[in-house]
């Protein structure tokens, strides 16, 4: 055995997908097709990732390849956000900007402080963790901001009618949306180690890393995710204010949001 899980084991774990499909069929959820598609897609994407990582992580490969892969991840994450909230114009560009800003800040701190060395085995996994978690929070904050603006349209326009600039009129509602996006991450951070063991830590333990080393690594990752979610959602909220108001401080809600 080269790693903690052999190929046969990975295939055998697919039995669990069959369990989920059976539950869906038994309960009449009609999610069987979605479950199978998701499982096959995850397998294909991870296989592709494996091929790319082998190429990138092979000793002697230039570091630029890792950064290029990070750029690809940012573009794909932005596209995913756009697909999930298609009614908001220019959200792809805004999300990519937010992920890039977050990568700059969080990876800058980790690498700058020497927490991890800058090399091909750290850049891609850390960026992947950061972008993946930020993407979920981004979709949440975009949906929350557009819903909040729609629900509180009268209040926002009443503030604008008092001569408040859009930045001030939007502030209470953006704050609420940001809180909503950040609270799940804060709760997850609070519960870690007691309620659940994060996937990465489980992975490290299964790979034979000592529990103390696994805990230390996990702590850094939790802080990385927390920081990146905070930076990404803040950039998104600020950018959305520019998208959802005109230069004349008029509210323009996307159709179908």
């Amino acid at each position: 055995m080269n790693g903690p899980v052999e190929l046969v084991g990975a295939v055998a774990s697919g039995m669990l997908v069959l369990v989920a499909v059976s539950v869906s069929w038994w309960a009449g959820l009609r999610l069987e097709r979605d479950l199978i598609t998701a499982a096959l897609r995850a397998a294909a994407q991870l296989a592709l990732l494996g091929i790319v990582l082998v190429a990138i992580l092979t000793p002697g490969q230039p570091l630029i390849l890792s950064w290029l892969w990070v750029a690809v991840m940012i573009v794909f994450a932005g596209w995913t956000v756009q697909r999930r909230v298609p009614a908001v114009p220019r959200i792809w560009l805004l999300s990519m900007g937010a992920f890039a800003a977050s990568a700059f800040v969080t990876l800058g701190v980790l690498f700058g402080a020497g927490v991890f060395p800058v090399n091909s085995t750290t850049v891609v996994p850390l960026a992947g963790l950061m972008i993946g978690n930020s993407m979920t929070a981004t979709v949440l904050v975009v949906r929350r901001v557009t819903t909040e603006f729609k629900d509180k349209r009268l209040e926002i326009e009443a503030r604008l009618a008092l001569g408040q600039p859009s930045s001030e009129a939007a502030k209470p509602y953006l704050r609420e949306a940001l809180r909503t996006a950040l609270i799940p991450q804060i709760e997850t951070t609070k519960a870690v180690g007691i309620v659940f063991l994060p996937g990465m830590m489980v992975g490290l333990l299964l790979a034979g890393v000592t529990p103390l080393d696994a805990v230390q690594a996990q702590l850094v990752i939790m802080y990385l995710v927390l920081g990146s979610v905070a930076v990404t959602t803040s950039v998104i909220a600020l950018g959305l204010r520019r998208i959802l108001f005109t230069e004349a401080h008029q509210l323009r809600l996307p159709v179908g949001s």
């Binding site: 009268l154 209040e155 326009e157 009443a158 503030r159 604008l160 009618a161 008092l162 001569g163 408040q164 600039p165 209470p172 004349a248 401080h249 008029q250 509210l251």
Partner: protein, 215 residues
């Protein structure tokens, strides 16, 4: 903002507003006098609210222009314009917090002025500490009016301000509007209530399907 005295408060010239395929206002030409209460009457969906939103640029017309005392509103600083044109909405729209917080949202935090303005709309000074969510519809709309008046607007625009109020509150708000108009603040007042038109209108405009049918 320097406001030159002119016989008209607002002038709508060839104003058309469309939302996608829907034409909400069609080629409106209208002059709103700079004195008294001008009532805009019309059924639901006739474009009355849209007309009010053009006066302080919460909305811009698709074509045509709107002028305040002879100056195109697009040539004025929009934030200044909105402090010059006080607006009261159809539903009492209070922000989270106390009445004081609501009045302070104008940027004016002088408490004696707050008290004076509450008095002007018939509310006692102790209302300042009350939470906005505890007020009745009539009281809340009076606070909204006080909030709009706090900025000493040159013109007041009221979009069906009594539609969610009981009869007594409606009459009280109408009386306040009459006093204000008598003090020289022209008012553009939207309603679909014919009896109200009889009680308060100095000038009237009727809208139907986005067109002025009587002015």
């Amino acid at each position: 903002m320097t406001i030159t005295p002119t016989p008209t408060a607002f002038t709508f010239t060839g104003v058309t507003v469309t939302f996608g395929e829907a034409v909400v206002l069609r080629d409106i030409d209208l002059e709103v006098p700079a004195s008294g209460i001008t009532v805009v009457l019309g059924p639901s969906g006739s474009g009355k609210s849209t007309l009010t939103r053009l006066t302080n640029r919460l909305l811009d017309p698709t074509s045509g222009s709107v002028s305040l005392r002879g100056t195109d509103v697009r040539d004025l600083d929009v934030l200044e314009l909105r402090r010059t044109v006080g607006m009261v909405f159809q539903r009492p729209t209070l922000f989270e917090g106390t009445v004081r917080d609501n009045l302070a949202a104008t940027g004016l935090e002088n408490e004696p002025t707050h008290t004076e303005m509450l008095h002007a709309v018939g509310l006692e000074p102790d209302y300042l500490q009350r939470d906005g969510s505890t007020l009745s519809g009539g009281e809340a709309q009076c606070v909204c009016l006080a909030r709009a008046l706090l900025m000493r607007p040159d013109v007041l625009v009221a979009d069906e301000p009594t539609s969610s109020l009981d009869h007594a509150s409606t009459l009280a708000l109408e009386s306040l509007a009459r006093d204000l108009a008598a003090d020289g603040v022209p008012i553009l007042w939207v309603t679909h209530d014919l009896a109200q038109v009889e009680r308060i209108a100095d000038h009237r405009v009727t809208l139907e399907e986005g067109r002025v049918v009587q002015a």
